[in-house]
Assembly symmetry: C2
Homo-oligomer: 429 residues x 2
């Protein structure tokens, strides 16, 4: 966070003129006198106010024009922390930790209570000393973004970074990532890097890693252990499997979903058990599915975002399909109801989209279970209109797959072939 | 199903000219000779073919122009079934069963294998003779639609029908409904008829009620029992709670979601236990939440569909917001990521929507858990842009509530007040 975070225009001038920065404790004289800490503001705030956190805990906005006098009581000390790199142990394997941002790479700013994506991969490594006993871990910051701000172009950069390390001495790669869109990135890497010969673990945390209650340490330690000890390949999400600190799940990248806003065990494998569970220092393989297939590794690292996700609901105006056609989209992934339905009011425009050559795939907003469009009239009508049923593919995975398939095909016909093929266990057996 | 279901133009003329109908067994001479049953076609099929189901089980499309000769082997007999109304028992309370369609009101057509919404409420009552021992049940068919085809105007008709019976002798009302959009209708009735003084049970089934494996009977019997014996009020979804036939759950109408495409226990209460469980003939109340509040019953039965649901994902083009503004929508419900976020690329157009006076509410695509927009920068930015956090309201419930709140308000400001108020336990305590 910058020393004037969020301030601009008039209020920024006021701070600069008075040599003030966010975090300073000040006394301010207006009609009433106040004492408190200068708080950061947000990008879309006005430029008329300075915000103080009072001792009571309340924040108050003071109009700059009405401030008669301001006095610094104490100022922020800028500590320079030196990060000590752990010593290399020649008997241990090497891993790479790539940081993209998110809570796992965040620090709580104890002055302001805010959370910012500030920790570097090196700091992260140093925060969890247990890692040095598992592997020699090199670190690299790719970007520092909360995952809600990551885009398909970031997926591409992460995939390219990983791909560049496939022939290296790294036994596996940890990707520190925000949890908000972690499942989208996991799916994207699963398709782009299908049949990758090393294991990749996406790791996040629901509480920032410098807080005592953080889940970051266990997730990181488990991921490192998993990559080093488990003789597997592919893309996994490694996160808490329970609300306590005793079990971690390794979810297959195309079958995982964030199903709770805040719980440590928010991530779940849809339609089955996680691929691996780490418990009591043991790694247990789930025998239900065999996700990994041995084929040649041919990375295809392109994404085309001309894919729309349309969640159907009663009252949805079918004009949305016209908008999608006119905006130049090439594909639609429907989140239909039940076994994969959308209402009759949509049919006419769906037929139009088919005529215009768009790919249309059907998933279910139920999230769990198979799409099956031959049971009811509605489903059969939609099949006849050219919608492709996508079995039990998770809607978000289907969307990412469509962006990937479109990005690596010459045309929609080629894309359709890829969409129907089971590339990275996105259809479970 | 009509006797020429799906046929039109040239193929319809062919059937009529030859006195043929769907279900007839025929021999057809073309270049090759075929024998089989005439199958129905779907609305969007061409008019050039007649479809036969061969004895092998395969369907074949025969071009009408190439048929040299056709001969009827046997024709469909139209049985007229007489429905015997159960006798009235003066010692039992009265219930009303309103049928809207869906699988629970469906028959499998054994000739064609298709499922159609054909059973009347009276037939439904007669199919499950146990009902006559619980209550005297009057029946009424409101419409016969699969629920994927129901619209907010249907919600209004169901609500008006129920409202017209509130002062009657009925102890409660069963609404037979397709499962695809049952949760939307349950939410709509919960808002429109809040504080209704009688209990209402929406009942569906995942397998049609004339099949041995159907869950319809247990769901219907349980709903009738629940309405008669349980001294409660409000809108409930009454469906299997396990995959076996021993436990039924009564879910509160604003807290329920269909979470599996095909399982009998697809419906779940989000963020808690069902309001009631019926097991071993006993009704057990969940003490966790007290959904019902005693207030005056003032039905508000309007819905305004100018509400868009926008599910955020990486790569979503923010122009969708411009389209929503230009198309005249009054509100947007976001399905954000994690604690309630959308990416920075959306901010500019979100600010534009706010300026245009649209209501914007935030829910989470995680489905379970609280939206909390004060933890991270992104959340605080979005609060400053005017997005209203909707706590743990289920996204689909939030969408329905917004349509209801808009439909019963003079303007968006009034709507916003309703959106923040806990009307029908859509925010759980």
């Amino acid at each position: 966070m910058s020393s004037h975070s969020g301030y601009r225009g008039k209020s920024l001038s006021f701070l600069q003129k008075n040599n003030l920065q966010v975090g300073d404790i000040v006394s301010v004289a207006t009609d009433v006198d106040y004492s408190g800490m200068i708080m950061p503001r947000y990008e879309y705030s006005d430029d008329e106010h300075v915000v103080l956190k009072l001792k009571s805990g309340y924040n108050i906005g003071l109009e700059v024009d009405k401030i008669k006098k301001v006095k610094i009581e104490s100022t922020v000390e800028l500590k320079k922390e030196t990060i000590q790199q752990p010593q290399t142990n020649p008997n241990l394997p090497k891993l790479l930790l790539v940081s993209t941002g998110g809570t796992i790479a965040s620090k709580v700013d104890y002055r302001t209570g805010g959370v910012t994506p500030a920790l570097t991969a090196a700091e992260l490594n140093a925060t969890v000393p247990e890692l040095a006993e598992i592997a020699n871990i090199d670190t690299e910051v790719l970007f520092s973004e909360y995952s809600e701000n990551l885009l398909p172009e970031h997926w591409k950069k992460i995939a390219e970074k990983i791909n560049s390390c496939v022939q290296s001495e790294y036994k596996g790669i940890i990707v520190a990532h925000g949890t908000d869109t972690m499942q989208y990135t996991a799916a994207a890497l699963s398709f782009a890097l299908v049949n990758i010969p090393i294991p990749i673990a996406l790791v996040g945390s629901q509480r920032s890693s410098d807080r005592p209650s953080s889940d970051a340490a266990l997730n990181l330690i488990s991921a490192a252990k998993f990559l080093v000890e488990c003789d597997t390949t592919g893309i996994y999400v490694v996160m808490h499997n329970t609300t306590s600190d005793d079990e971690v799940a390794c979810h297959w990248g195309t079958r995982v979903r964030k199903n709770h806003t805040s719980k440590r065990n928010a991530f779940q494998t849809i339609g089955g058990l996680p691929a691996f569970i780490i418990k009591n220092d043991k790694i247990i393989k789930n025998q239900q599915f065999n996700y990994v297939r041995k084929r040649e590794y041919v990375p295809k690292i392109n994404f085309d975002t001309r894919v729309a996700l349309v969640k159907y609901y009663p009252g949805l105006d079918s004009s949305i399909i016209n908008y999608i056609i006119e905006a130049g989209y090439k594909a639609i992934i429907f989140e239909g109801t039940g076994l994969g339905h959308i209402g009759k009011t949509m049919y006419e425009n769906v037929a139009k989209a088919k005529k215009k050559g768009l790919f249309m795939g059907m998933t279910s907003q139920c999230i769990d279970g198979m799409v099956c469009m031959t049971v009811y009239e509605s489903g059969r009508d939609l099949l006849n209109l050219g919608i492709i049923p996508l079995a039990n593919m998770i809607p978000e995975t289907a969307l990412v797959k469509a962006m990937w398939a479109l990005g690596n095909s010459k045309n929609v016909q080629e894309m359709e072939v890829l969409m129907k093929e089971n590339i990275a266990s996105e259809f479970s057996d």
